[in-house]
Amino acid sequence: MLKYTLHRLLTGLITVFFIATITFAAMHLVPGDPISGAKAMSPEIRANLERKYGLDQPVLHQYKVYLTNIVKGDFGISYTQQNRSVNDIIRDHFPVSATLGVLAILIAAFGGVIFGSLTALFRNKAPDHLIMFLVILGISVPSFVFAALGQYGVTELNRFTGKDILPVGGWGTLSHMLLPSLVLGLGTMAFLVRLMRSSILEVMNLDYVRTAKAKGLSPMRIFLGHKLRNAVLPVITVLGPAIAAITTGGFVVESVFAIPGLGRYFVQAVQQLDYTVIMGLTVFYGSFLVFMVIAVDIIYGLIDPRISVAKRSAV
């Protein structure tokens, strides 16, 4: 297990290194350069700016500086907001995105398990058909549509009651988080419901379930103690990709709901071509996602004793 963990961490580090390199290469392939923006500037100012950002150095030297800075945890200074470092931006805005993401994951996981169990319990009956119909909708409708419709619904609700029941956008209190995290988690929830349903149907007729029945356990105890416990494991495996989906989904949801999270910042930086911010946030997001997936894999190995991840990795 330790060997496996170390191996995964090492490959993770290599992946992060490549992410950093590709990001650097991609940003240097962009036609034009970061300072030649809309404003015309004198050669002196230009030279000064180039010195400030180290753009007067050869590319290989820039690459070396870039890598050493990343190892030190320094992502540089923003081009469009010249007194703000990328580290400041991450420190200020990542907690907002993380809160939103964790809430969305929780909603998705609990909703997925509960609704998935319901569909399996009421298999081929009305609740099953209804939930599976909603699931197909949840998978097929883009998150920005849910975001817009949710916002519209809240506006109408507030208008109808004449009170501010839920805020339409912004950030601060729990009521601000409710709608965005629900919208953000919806797609993942739909996916998890599907997974949960087939997973429960799979364990439905296994030997230990029959044994539990023969022992005379109540249906509820069989369901909670035997079926659900074994069926819920696959949900954990997809949490890694789910975290990735929710993180990138945050780009849209944060933009629509005007939430000051890192995702909205990333989208802004991309639209304004703020090179250091794009590079810094890509490396940050990339390493975050890579290590999240690794963490989920390791946790999965710890939880389910039947699966030896170490053996699986040898194949």
């Binding site: 799979e202 989208v267 997001y285």
Partner: protein, 488 residues
């Protein structure tokens, strides 16, 4: 050997025929040496044999959801390919007189003269700047339209409020409920800066058929009381604009305007024709990215699976590495790196980025299938009979992975459409003049609260397309891949 050809029944028949001559001993007749008649009475096939593909074709036909979604896909293809020939409105033609209009079919407009200049009535005998605190101000006693309101100008007249030094004019598209105070009166479109000026002319973007105007008296601050007037605008068109459409038209005549079944967008462009040309972009990416991706996957996965050993390890390690890259993040990064010049749509860079990042999943799939099949009996038999590797690969291995490949292709299409919509929505997709469903959603969401159709129509099209491909994929999976048949 003969048993395999004639079968059990044939043998049984042969034994019986010798029993017919028990006493003849060594005497053989010539017909004893006739070959036994082969009677395949029990062997006969009661119905035509069902091949893999004809079985696959029958299954979705039984599956109602899959049939409906197949019909939807056909409809979408027709909409995209044939639609522009039937609905010949230029998707980039702007009609500034009809901005953000809801769906219209047979709209007519009365031609009116150009609006003459108008000045707000000024009352004498009332001080222009009196003093009264804002909370004591009353609402204007009357509020009416001066003359016939038209889509060029709405002229308002109201009774003066004693103590007011100014009036704020609000315009709303919905009726204020009166519950929330002045916060829901809509847009503050203007202000009259004297207490004795009691008129206002609104000429700003009058595009809807109904407005609610509210007058709030002011003195320093706004009062909490106001008067609201509902103004219905008849559909009118200015003479100069009408003459551009039909040269011999005169004031007072009725003009038939072109229909916009899905309305117009914020630049007055026909939404239906934009949806059609947007479909071309969205579906083009949705089809071609998966196709190229699957092709690459077959080549790389096939090579890795068939050769095995070091090549396999190397290729799969590379695939794993690409899979570990965060997909959307790198889509955005590649999009920036490719750079889109002026006048380019940016479709090609998006395709390339999508293929570069998504081939590993299909390569892994193909490799896994080929690894499995390589060890199966029929492949070994074929090898034993001297089949060459190329023949093996194209005759046995790849055709048998086709089902799985087709299923993953169907599921790759909606996810490619989703990716395109997502990127275009955050402004990182197709460059502006070219419409795509995602970028139309991005344009539409800005005015979602006032003109929902601009957002809803492209959103509905994205959803329906993704939905049909998902259902079709489910149906195909049931049909083509016996192991993955869903448990319902």
């Amino acid at each position: 050997m003969s048993q395999t050809f004639s079968g059990d029944s044939g043998v049984a028949e042969a034994v019986k025929s010798s029993d017919l001559h028990p006493g003849t001993g060594a005497a053989f007749n010539a017909d004893d040496f006739e070959p036994a008649v082969r009677i395949n009475r029990f062997q006969g096939l009661s119905r035509p044999s069902l091949s893999y593909w004809s079985d696959a074709w029958m299954r979705p036909k039984k599956n109602r959801k899959a049939t409906v979604s197949l019909a939807m896909v056909v409809f979408l293809a027709l909409f995209t390919l044939v639609g522009p020939f039937l609905w010949r409105i230029d998707p980039s033609a702007q009609d500034m007189a009809r901005i953000s209009e809801g769906p219209t079919f047979a709209k007519t407009a009365v031609v009116i003269d150009e609006a003459a200049s108008w000045t707000a009535p000024e009352l004498s005998g009332i001080p222009a700047a009196p003093t009264a605190s804002a909370e004591n101000l009353l609402a204007p006693a009357t509020l009416e339209a001066d003359g016939v309101p038209s889509s060029q100008a709405v002229r308002l007249k109201w009774a003066p409020v004693t103590g007011a030094s100014a009036y704020a004019v609000y315009r709303s598209e919905t009726k204020p409920s009166g519950k929330v105070g002045t916060s829901e009166l809509g847009v503050p479109i203007g202000e009259v800066d004297a207490g004795n000026k009691v008129g206002y002319e609104d000429t700003f973007n009058l595009e809807r058929s109904e407005y609610f105007y509210s007058i709030v008296p002011k003195n320093g601050e706004e009062a909490s009381k106001f008067t609201t007037l509902r103004v219905v605008l008849p559909s009118t068109i200015a003479l100069s604009a009408a003459q551009a459409l039909k040269s011999d038209i005169k004031v007072g005549e009725t003009l038939h305007l072109s229909a916009h079944p899905f309305g117009t967008d914020y630049l007055g462009r026909d939404l239906l024709s934009r949806l059609m040309s947007g479909a071309r972009v969205s579906l083009f990416i949705g089809f071609f990215a998966p196709l190229v991706m699957i092709f690459l996957g077959i080549v790389i996965g096939g090579a890795a699976g068939y050769t095995g050993g070091r090549t396999d390890n190397l290729l799969m390690a590379f695939a794993d590495f690409v899979l570990a890259l965060p997909f959307l993040l790198f889509m955005i990064l590649f999009k920036i790196a490719f750079g889109v010049g002026a006048g380019e749509s940016g479709i090609f860079p998006m395709l390339v980025a999508m293929v570069i990042l998504s081939w590993p999943s299909s390569a892994r799939l193909v490799r896994g299938q080929i690894l499995q099949l390589r060890e199966s009996e029929f492949v070994m038999a074929s090898k034993l009979l001297g089949a060459r590797p190329i023949y093996l690969l194209f005759r046995h291995l790849l055709p048998n992975t086709m089902g799985v490949i087709l299923v993953s292709l169907t599921f790759a299409i909606p996810s490619a459409i989703f990716t395109e919509a997502f990127l275009s929505f955050i402004g990182m997709g197709v460059a502006p003049p070219t419409p795509s469903w995602g970028s139309m959603c991005n344009d539409g969401i800005q005015t979602f609260l006032t003109h929902p159709h601009e957002f809803l129509f492209p959103a509905i099209f994205i959803s329906i397309t993704v939905l049909s491909f998902n259902l079709l994929g489910d149906g195909l999976r049931d049909a083509l891949d016996p192991r993955m048949r869903s448990t319902s």
